[in-house]
Structure formats: C-alpha cells, structure tokens
Chain length 406, copies 3
C-alpha cells in the first residue's frame, strides 16, 4: 500500500524551498495507512555529504512474529532496529562486533496479538522479552500484583502496544539527524488516556542514539503513571569483571537475595548457573545542570556504553543483574525510571508513583553512547567521578520492603 | 482476493430473470473468503431511481486497528459504518452535522486480536469501547463477576468476535432496501453453540436504520443467554437539558450513586467533571401491539433519536448516564435488553436470565430513527405519551441490590 | 511472497546429483518467510511411479480463522490437513467415506490470535478445539489448576502456538515418503525453552500416518514437561457398539462419574443426551520390543483405526468417552501421554510429571493406520491379543484422586 509515497514526498520537497526535514509517514491509524516493504537512502533524500545512511521497514513472518513490523536504521556507522508493533521498542544496536542487546531464549519478535499479559499470574510479558530497550509503563510498571482488585501485569502494556503513528524524518541541514518517531497510545475508557510520542534519533556516522519521549495525559483527570527504561546488555559488554559505574547517592538491595551480595553490587560474575537474578535500587546523583551519567564497561575497560539523562525526569534507577547462563539470558538491565520495580501498590506507598495533571506532559531524554575504546571508557569514568565529587554513596544493607509480602 | 466477485454476481443477475435481491458475500469462513477493498454503487446494481447509494468495505491499518474490516453504507441521506471484525457493531451514523455516536478516548477500531477481555478483573472490553451500537452477550452480559468459578467478563464476547459470514444485499424492488447481514458465532465446546444472524438495514434516502437479529441456540441443550443493545449517544443529541422520554412502568436506580439523583433521572447535565456515571433500570410499557418507543432529544426539542421495538423481545431497559467531560466520553446509553447490567449471578437470582431451548431462536428488532427537526421530535413525544396513556410510572428510590456485594 | 521458491528449489534439485529429498520451506521465522498459496505435485518433483500425490498450503479467511495457515496432503489414497498456525495439529484425515476426526460445535480453524487460554478459569482452549489430533503440553498439560500461584490452563499452549518453521519434504527414493515437519517453540524467559520438531509423514498410497516428534529442552536447566497426544474420533468409527481394544495392564476411572461405568469402559453408547463425558486412566502393556497397539473399531468390526507406539515413550493412556449428542460432539479421545489428564499438581504428586535434563530430548513416535475392512480389524485384534497374552487386566473401581478437590 502507498509504496510510492516516499517518492511523492521527496519530489515535493525537491520542488519547494528548504524545508525542516524530509518526512515519511510509515504507519498512521488516523489515515488508516501502513507501509509494506519500504526503504529510503541518504542518496534518495539528496544527502551526499557525510556517511551514507539508510532506513527501511518490513513485516516479519513465521511463528509468533507473523505480522510484526521492523524498522532498520543504518546510520553509516551503526545499525539498530525499532519495533513499531511492540511499542517502538529497540531490538538491538550493532556496530562492528559490538552489540547492544542480549540473547534471550525468545528469538522471534513476538506480535502482541499472540500474547496474553495476564497469563501466568501476570507474567505474560516474559513471552516476548528479548529486546535491548523496552519501555515499561504507562498506567503501571514493575512486578505484577493486585491493585484495587485488578491484576497489574508485569511492566505494564506499552511494550506490547502497536504504535498508532510512525514517522521517519531526516533533517535537511547537516548533520542530517535521523528521527524515528512513534506514537504509542494507552487509552482505556474510564481508566487511561495516555499518548506517548516516542523518538529514537541518531546522527549519521555517530555511535550515539537518543531516546526522547513525551508522555501526555490527554484525560481530563489527574492520573498516576510509571515509566521504566528497561535497557538490557549482554556480551560483549557484559562479562566476568564487567563493572557498573555510576554517580550514586544511595543503593539498596531489592530483596533478601540481592542483600546477600550488596558488597559487590557494581561488579559482574561470569555466566553462573542457578544465579537467577539480583536487583539493586539506586538513587543517582546529578551534576549542577541536573544530569547524571551511568556506564557499563567490560573488564578490560576498553568497551562500554554510557547513558546520560536528567535525573529529575527519571529520579530512580534499577540495576538488574541477571548473570545466569548464556542460554538462559546472561544480561544486565540498566533501568532509569520514575520508580523502582516493586508492584504499584508498594511503589505508591513509598511515594514513587508520580501523577500527571490533566493535559500535562512529561518528557524523558536519554543519550546512549557506545564507548568503543579505552579512552572513551576512561573519559566517561572521569565524567561520572566528577558528578560524584566527594559525595559519599550510602549503601543500605537491607531491603526497604519484602516484595513477597504482597 | 476475489476482487471481481461482485462484477460476476452483478452480471449473473443481469442475465437472469428478476431476482429477490442482489447479493454480495464479503466474508465467508466456510468458503474461506474475505474481500479486500470492495465497493458497489446503486448505479452498478442497476438502481437509477431514488437516491444514489453506495456500500464499500476496506481493511483498517495502524495501531490496534490493524486488520479490522470496516463497511461503509451511504444510503444517499445518511452514512453508517459496520465493523465485521467487532461482531457487526455499528461505529457511527452520520447525516449532515448530526451524528449518532460519541467521542471515546479510544479512537481506533480495535482488532480483538489485540484485546484480552479477562484483563483488569474482566474489564478488558473497555479497551475497545467506542462504538455507537455494541451488542452485549450472548453467553453472558453485564458487569464482570465470577459465576461457577469462572470470570464472566464485562458485557460478554459478541462485540469482540469477528463475523464468520457477511452478506450485503440490495432488494431488487423499490425501495431497494440495503441489508448488511453478518453471522457472529459464539461456539465453545461444552459451553455454547450460539449462532447470531445480525442485520442492519436501511432504505435509500431514509433517516432510519433497522437492527434485526436472530439468535439461535444450535446446541442440543437448553442454554441461558443475555443480550443488551448498548446504543451510545453523545453530542449533538446529548447536551445540558437533553431529555430521555419513554413510556415507563417502573424505574429503579442501579446503585446508591444513581439513587441520589433518581428525581432527575430523565434529564441530562452538561459535561460534568467527576460525574462518572449513573445507571437507571427501566421497565418499559408497551402499546396494544406490544411495541414501545423511547426517545433521546436535545434541549430545544428540535433534534433527537427514537428507538421503537417489541417489549417482549427485550423487556428491560438500562439508561446509562455518563455525562462526564467531553474528553472522557460525554455519552448516554439507551440499552434495551433481556435484563439489566448486573452480573449474571445477580440477574439469574432476579429471574432476568432467559433460556433458549435446543434449536430455538429469539429475534430482536429495533428501529432507530433520527429526528431531525421539531415536528418529528414532537410527533415521537406524542407516540410515547399515547403508550403511557394514564398509566403511572413507579419510581423506586432504592436499588434492588447492592452490586458491589458480589 | 516467494511464490517462486519451490520452482527454484525443484530446479536446483534437477541440476544436481541425486539428493536425499526434495525440500520446501514454507514458513521460517529465522528467515522471516511465509509462503502464500503454494502447492506441489508428484509430477512436479519428478515422481511418476506409484500413486500421484500433492501437497498445498493456503491461508484461511473469515471469522476467527482469519490468517490461519492450512496444509493439505493428498497421498493418492487419503488426504489430511495440518495446521501450522495451531501447533501443527492435524485437522482431519479422509479416505473415501472414512474420516478420522469429529464434528465439534466449532467449525472454524481458530487463529490463536483470537484466543485467550486463561479465559473461563483456564478453559480458553475449548474455544478452538475441533481437531482430529491435538498435542497437549509442553510446560504443562491436563486440566486447569493453580500451580505455584499460576494458572496452568487446560492442556497447555503447544496446540495454540504458531509453528516457527515448516518444511515439506519428499524422499527421492521410493516409496517417496512425504514429510510435513514443523518446529513449535515454547519459549518463555525464566520458565521454558522447549523446541519441538514435529513430523507427520505418510507413504503415497498408504492408509498410515506417522507422527514422530522430538521435544528438546534447550534450557540449561532440567525442566518438567508433559505431553498428551489428544486424538479424537467420531463417526463412522464411533457408533453404538464400537469398541476400544487395547493390551491393558490396569484401568482406573478418572473420577466418580467414570467409576459408575467402569464395567463397560471399553464399549461405546450411541449419541446420548446428557452423557457429558467419562474418562478412564489406562496403563498399557507392551510386547517384547516395547511396543503397544490400541484400536478403535466400529460395531461390525469392519472399520477401525490402530495406533502403535513404544510404551516407554508414552507410558500412560487416557480414554476419553464423550458420547454426547452428535451436535455437541460425539467423540472419543485415544490419548497416549506421559501422564494422565489431572492437573499438573496432582500429576506431579502421583509421579507422572517427567523431567528433561538440560539439552536432553525425548522422542514420540505413533503410527496411526486406518483399518478399512474386517480382515485388517481382525488382524489388529490378534496383534493386541498377542501383546496381552495371558496377562490379566486389573480393573480398579475407584478413582485414585478426587480431581475436584483442587
């Protein structure tokens, strides 16, 4: 359908005066359109200077991924994949032999049509979990639990909600930033009217990727919300001796199991049978401009990833250490959020469930950068040390609650 | 697929002696067919006298409406949209600046593939609720509740069941009535074998639309059933000072909240923040032929809608007043049914869950007519007054049950 | 998509030296491919001797079967239909006027996208149950029940899981056996990493069909599993006076209702209103090579079906007698399994929930043969008698547990 749309748009742009950006609408429920196989290259949009880039979209087939859409962005230096059908989650990022992402037992990019989030006591979300970056939210997030007689399923619904509008745009002016924008709605009569404009953007040739989302409460009522940016990293960044580095005000174990290893909470084991998982609740520090940076780096400190973001947007941070075997999913989650991963009831009681007034918006901006060498890792280490300064990290030895009591 | 089917059929009709109707099969699970984009006009079927009409079908795209089918019927005077994928619900009716329907926070026509009716304690139905007319049923209807250890989800399943067969037909003889028929099955091994032939029909040029459904119990066992015709009206019919007019034997508040405003149960407030909803249980009166008529009219009494139907088919009537804000859904439901909207357990206890013998059928016929001016509103008012005659309306001040006790 | 794939493959085979088999990949989630309408004939693969055969695949349309794939195999003597979208279940087998299968109230081949297994207290599986052969498993099987706080839904998930890879192959050498292989994955982060390679195969011109599956635990952890081969037979094999014949060590009624008729457990009633169902738990005997055979035959003993399989693969056998009315589903299930049909908790307590070590596989091989005449029925009777020899069948009169206590 509309396979010639981009051509028409490009020609329209060619005919007019300099525009802000070349724009391609790939999906739009209001206009009832959805592109089939689609692609565009830097050359086709008239960008000849700088690294050649390309963007394409296709529908996946087979098994539970039947009908899932996938967008591939190659910025000339790195490639990443965005999944409109799964709430604009990012499947993976690759540059050379470096991958952001992990190996889940689940290989397919599961179409939510084949999922039941309420299954298995609210753990249905685990049937599709294999992405590098999954948003959790928006009505609720965190562990499943009953709230007001209703089952709040694991990590909410946004990560399994098909995007209602998807727009690809390329800035006309250098550096010709590439934007993949998707609107993901969470609308339920009587309960929710959230509109989330998500954006993943990158500059051609760069090793950085920016997530900049805006969540708006379109309801006439003030409503609670929760967001966690569940970013997941396996090898090669994660290995025995890898380290999490952050400017940290306070760290607390999530539960008794994490408490046992609070002393080594920043370092990682090799793939470890029967490890399961440990979760640490972190309160980050910010610099004078309100920004914080966290880093995951390998043992040799010559490979890593940094995330830089404003702490007031996402004041809490969950470190999920799932250093189980490779096959089971050897992975760590670096998860800035509006709260921790307890059930919504616990989070509310602890004052970590924010509200959005009627018509109000909250923005979330996170810069993810691959650190491909020792100097970039060292540089990020210095940045983080500067934020920490001479402030002490409070290490709390016991969990604030027993999450199993719910 | 089969894009030339209608041409073949039209030509077949052209070649034979006068037939009863021109018929187009758009969906048929038995023949495993489903039309793609399809349309027919009055001219194409050889109707040249009277208002020109057209009927078309397309598949919707984007977000949670991916793959939903939508049929548009323009009878030359008004246009309405039928949703095969959602149990032949009617999305909206439009004529000039008059709309039957309402503005729900949910804008997409949600494909049931993306829904879980069991979610949120059985309120999953609310994820897709935005139509003018939704059938509730057939195994159960009403509020969610446990019955025999199983969760009966809000308003049953029929409104989220894809139609198995869809037939469009146009009478050969004037007035060339247009029929959109759809078979919606509710078949569950050991539990249900319902076959519902739904029909929406209209005459070219008219402001009326007839719903005429037949529900058949194909099982060898007598089975309970429930049906509610959940018709929903927002502006311009609904406004401050709008009035519900009916020939009423008795009215009872659904619950304590409705009881507070029993005195003003027939009139409507402006969009009102924090109003939520109030529900009134109505027992209508019938005229000598067994028919009743209800009307919703605007404040100036120059715009309205009437519903006329046999009371023995649908002996109970729910008036749902949801005069909350415009964005939340400022809407009132006029809902003839085989019972009220309590859980099936309450309804059964109160003797309002009818049964269908093995092989037996029940028909439901409702005529919806737009009243575009003061005379038609006044005329309907007189019709209703004539049914009421000098019979008194019993106003019960207290709910028959406390629905929260379940 | 890829409609010319088989041509390319056939030509490739034609160009090279004798290969083991001609192979056609119809679905492959890894390669993200799914054939549309597809077919191949014996002639097209160069087989000219023996019965002409054909294999084809198409997508179904209408109602809840929208998007379901169906493969038809005509081996020149009998035809059967495999459903990739429903875990490679077999819908029906036909030869002349003999059918393996039954008439369920459900006529459509339901796409799992429209199902919720958790519905109705975990009986959602009944919304799609109409096949001749359904696999039950793999994480769990049997009646729904809570286990470790989670609802184990009726008969597990595999029968409603779309196949991830489907390969049709035809042996190059006579007798040119036809293989329909499908990989069905049951993968859930933290819970399961099962890979099942299912295979249905047949020789051209034969009345036999072989199911040969291999279930592999790809997890690094030992995991429980359950499998039941739920084969279902209605008329003409099932009629008043039909008999189940098996070499049986022990039979026990499933519950109190079955206990009432333990004396007549091997014979069948005519379609009987209000019969509902009776279930008998059977422990089969094996011959010296470990094989057992069971048979269902009609009253005249001139029509039947036999199943021959290794008892150590599937040591338990459930006989499900559902001789209710024809419309409700007059059907009997012959169900070899790793256990009986109780909830997983009961099965575990009774020692019938096997485990698979990390990386380990279990194979299941069942030969189903239609017995079209008196001699073949008599021959199978002799085979079974030979297995039984002079061993007695222990008939236990009381159920081992009360399944309703859970």
């Amino acid at each position: 359908m509309k396979t010639t749309l981009w051509v028409a748009i490009v020609m329209a742009f060619a005919a007019v005066a300099p525009a802000a950006a070349k724009e391609f609408v790939l999906i739009d429920s209001e206009a009832s359109t959805r592109e089939g196989d689609w692609s565009v290259t830097s050359k086709q949009v008239g960008v000849t200077a700088g690294p050649a880039f390309s963007i394409s979209k296709r529908a996946l087939h087979g098994g539970k991924q039947e009908g899932t859409d996938l967008i591939e962005v190659n910025n000339g230096k790195m490639t990443f994949w965005v999944i409109p059908t799964r709430g604009m989650n990012v499947l993976r990022v690759k540059t050379g032999d470096i991958t952001l992402g992990w190996t889940s037992p689940i290989k397919e990019v599961v179409n939510p049509a084949f999922m039941t989030l309420d299954a298995r006591g609210g753990l249905g979300w685990l049937d599709g979990f294999n992405e590098w970056l999954v948003r959790c939210g928006f009505e609720w997030s965190g562990h499943p639990g009953m709230d007001d007689g209703k089952l709040m399923t694991l990590h909410g619904r946004v990560g399994n909600t098909p995007a209602s509008k998807v727009v690809v745009s390329i800035d006309d002016k250098a550096p010709h930033r590439i934007h993949i924008r998707g609107r993901v709605d969470e609308k339920v009569f009587k309960f929710a009217d959230y509109e989330a404009w998500t954006e993943i953007s990158t500059e051609p040739g760069s090793l950085s990727l920016r997530v900049s989302d805006t969540l708006t409460n379109r309801s006439d009522y003030e409503r609670e919300f929760q967001v966690i940016y569940h970013g997941n990293f396996g090898p090669p960044l994660l290995e025995e001796g890898s380290e999490f580095v952050g400017a940290v005000k306070q760290v607390t174990p999530f539960n008794a199991k994490a408490a046992r290893d609070i002393a080594t909470w920043t370092t990682y084991l090799a793939p470890t049978k029967d490890f399961g998982e440990q979760v640490f609740n972190v309160i980050p520090l910010a610099d004078a401009t309100g920004m914080t940076t966290v880093m995951l780096r390998n043992k040799a400190a010559n490979l890593g990833v940094r995330i830089t973001y404003p702490v007031d947007e996402l004041p809490y941070f969950t470190l999920w250490k799932n250093t189980d075997t490779l096959k089971e999913g050897y992975v760590t989650g670096l998860e800035p959020g509006t709260g921790f991963a307890y059930t919504r009831r616990i989070e509310r009681r602890s004052g970590r469930v924010p509200k959005l007034a009627a018509g109000a918006s909250r923005s979330f901006t996170l810069d993810y950068t691959i650190l491909p060498d020792a100097p970039s890792v060292a540089g990020t280490g210095k940045d983080i040390a500067a934020i920490q300064g001479d402030q002490k990290t409070t290490v709390v030895n016991d969990p604030e609650v027993d999450p199993t009591e719910e």
